[in-house]
Symmetry: C2
Subunit: 218 residues, 2 copies
DNA sequence: GCGTAGTGTGAGCAATAGCTCGCGTTTGCG
DNA sequence: CGCAAACGCGAGCTATTGCTCACACTACGC
């Protein structure tokens, strides 16, 4: 599997080919979703798109390029979905702790709930080129920074290290929603999970640090 | 890739063959660790073990059987490592909240820290046959049950639904340690992460549920 | 010593993957 | 029109993989 360029080989100029490219991307999503990465062959993708294998390689130089395009699309959607939330957190009427957390968790669940199987293939099963890895790390850092700023502005928050707390929040929400959506637990409704997650994060962030805690009230 | 039996084809009787089997398993671990699942070919595994490809297939009927053996071994190690902890939680001198959580998180981190790359291949990248899936779910449930019992016995704990809380704890610890070990964050030492995780869980479990909370005591 | 079960070997088979390339068709445009 | 560029096609090439099988060697009970 020699490293091949991941950039498109030919840019679609006419409307016809733009449709082909779009059909290929959607077909790839469906095929990866159903068959996983390894069994999601380029021939199958082309067939699903109703296009010949030759056409596929006109626009995507390799199988991994298709995967990367899919990730790119997903990341773009994620950024778009989270942008208003970021604005809200940073805005003048910054929300309270629970409301902000609730919105964050809800947004993340919504983001993952769309196509969980595809998401699993994209972010777990498939090999991740270093460039992509850096990109995603950057996004996580950006999110953590935004949340850290919000935490610092939030009067209810009492954790000692907002940066660390923010990263932990991002990490936790990411992990929980991820596994929650990919491997849904049957014995409690999803709403109960999200509520518990919010409660956990809120309790942590509002808790007085152990070191300077007074003798337990009551 | 026809579904092939995952049971061993031939049982090793003599010491010589037992060494071969062991060498193959360790070689498989190293190869999967370095090359991932797809590029971890059976020929490479055999070569790494210093054994012919034929010998490999004498004892492992398929590539997936090797993977399963590896998972089995990892699970067994995990059970062994967690058994004393379970005894402690259930015992007469049951530990306090923070101590128990601290031990739990530490044990999980230790469990994952051993061979993170291999762990990733085993539990993320590779296909998981349903039988294995059920096995792992069972383990998680078992762990959650043990923790739920402990939580119910713990006077500090005030959450309304100990079962749900226990599952959330398992899920969170699993997720956090997992990602923490596989993608270590550079800007804070691991100890800070585990401490923060423990603090988060403790705060959540000891927090008075929102519904019946008194006006915040100063 | 001898036979049998256990063990080890590696060339090579069948299947399948990603991908190429020569050629036919359609589109845009003067 | 006519023509060049864009587009689409799919048989099939090359490489690789999981795995088989016919055979040779080793250990051990008798």
């Amino acid at each position: 599997m020699p490293t091949r360029s991941l950039r498109a080989r030919r840019q679609p100029r006419q409307a016809r080919s733009r449709e082909t490219v779009e059909a290929l991307l959607e077909a790839a999503a469906q095929v990866f979703e159903r068959h996983g990465y390894a069994a999601g062959t380029t021939n199958r993708i082309a067939a699903r798109a109703g296009v010949s294998i030759g056409s596929l390689y006109q626009y995507y130089p390799s199988k991994d390029a298709i995967l990367l395009a899919l990730v790119e699309r997903h990341v773009a959607e994620g950024e778009a979905a989270l942008a208003p939330l970021a604005g809200w957190l940073a805005g003048d009427s910054s929300p309270g702790l629970r409301d902000g957390l609730q919105a964050l968790v809800a947004a993340m669940v919504a983001l993952h709930a769309d196509r969980p199987a595809l998401h699993r293939v994209l972010f777990e099963e498939a090999p991740r080129p270093p460039a992509l890895r850096r990109r995603l790390d950057g996004l996580a850092t950006q999110a953590a920074d935004a949340i850290a700023a919000w935490l610092r502005a939030c009067p209810e928050v009492r954790v000692a290290d907002p940066e660390l707390a923010a990263r932990l929040v991002v990490q936790t929400v990411e992990s929980i929603t991820h596994t929650l959506v990919i491997h849904p637990a049957a014995d409690r409704p999803p709403a109960a999970w999200t509520a518990a997650t919010v409660a956990m994060l809120a309790a942590y962030l509002a808790a007085v640090p152990v070191d300077d805690r007074h003798p337990a009230p009551r």
